[in-house]
Amino acid sequence: MIPTPDLSHLKSADFQHVYEPAEDTFLLLDALEQDADELRNSKSLVCLEVGSGSGCVSAFAGAVLGPSTSLYLTTDINPYACRSTSTTGKQNGVPIEPVLASLTDPLRARLRHAVDILLFNPPYVPTDSDEAYDAQQKADIAGAWAGGHSGMDITDILLDQVEDILSPTGRFYLVAVKQNDIQGICARMQSQHGLKGEVALQRRAGREHLYVLKFTRQPSET
């Protein structure tokens, strides 16, 4: 059992602005731990976490793979989250490189088919689309959960960026809830991007039925 990253440096004041790890976060950590051997034994040079929040997930990835084995990049549109991610990395001995950015924007040109582990715990809660848009604009805590129509407004944009950035043996882990239409996501990733999806883990937490989906490239058939 790999311990959850130490977040003692973050206080309740910080969590007014940065998403405090909760059941969805822990499910993603569990999914990574479940795949620990597989991840250690395959090429895992570049790990990119989109929407890093507190930095908990990337710090955990660093604990799984080793601090010097991979490059741990993160993006978040919330500057507070980027700073928290940075200190979380330091607190846990994992050199994390946070970038204040939207999704994968400034990295796509140089990381074409280069990301071995892509992680995204998106704002997945179904809300009004205006509410989700405004939350992203403000780049504060609400942007961490307000997901718009079916909770997919932001995820939809990222899903179209995955194929371009994922390495040939790369793995994409996505947190989702039932209302996001799990089958729909998997079907669309398959038909539009040729990426095979499976449920790595699922768990009921309160009113949420949470999933971690894992996407990989189809092995080519000759």
């Binding site: 010097s68 980027c82 940075s86 924007d105 400034p106 990295l107």
Partner: protein, 125 residues
């Protein structure tokens, strides 16, 4: 912390800026040197990803000329080379300053080691 490994992966993504948008040029950079764990296996695996000229140029901008201008052909067993690469790629942290696009001149500020790659509304493609 923006280290040179990350700088080597950042390109300008402003609307319409699709050529000569990499590498970004450092401006008023203040740096800190911090030791990092040496892992030659990682460096060897990551080497094909590196835009070498961009890395050498960026290091030069920050006052470091330790890297060869061109990638040596036979470097696998060259410990000196790997140690130099390790230092330049992973131990130079740009804490403050900015990165400027050579094409459209967009300025991406760096503050507390975090690069701000967000664009204004009118700059988004």
């Amino acid at each position: 912390m923006v280290r040179l490994i990350t700088h080597n992966l950042l390109a300008c993504h402003a609307k319409g800026c699709t050529t000569n948008n990499f590498p970004l040029q450092f401006q008023d950079a203040t740096i800190e040197l911090r030791e990092a764990e040496f892992n030659p296996e990682f460096l060897y695996g990551f080497l094909p990803r590196i835009e070498w000229a961009a890395l050498v140029g960026a290091a030069h901008q920050l006052g470091d000329d330790s890297l060869p201008k061109e990638l040596p052909e036979d470097m696998v067993d060259d410990q000196v080379f790997w140690k130099k690469l390790h230092h330049v790629l992973l131990e130079i942290h740009v804490e403050e300053g900015a990165m400027v696009c050579p094409n459209c001149k967009h300025v991406y500020p760096i503050s507390n080691g975090i690069p701000n790659m967000l664009l204004a509304e009118h700059e988004i493609g």
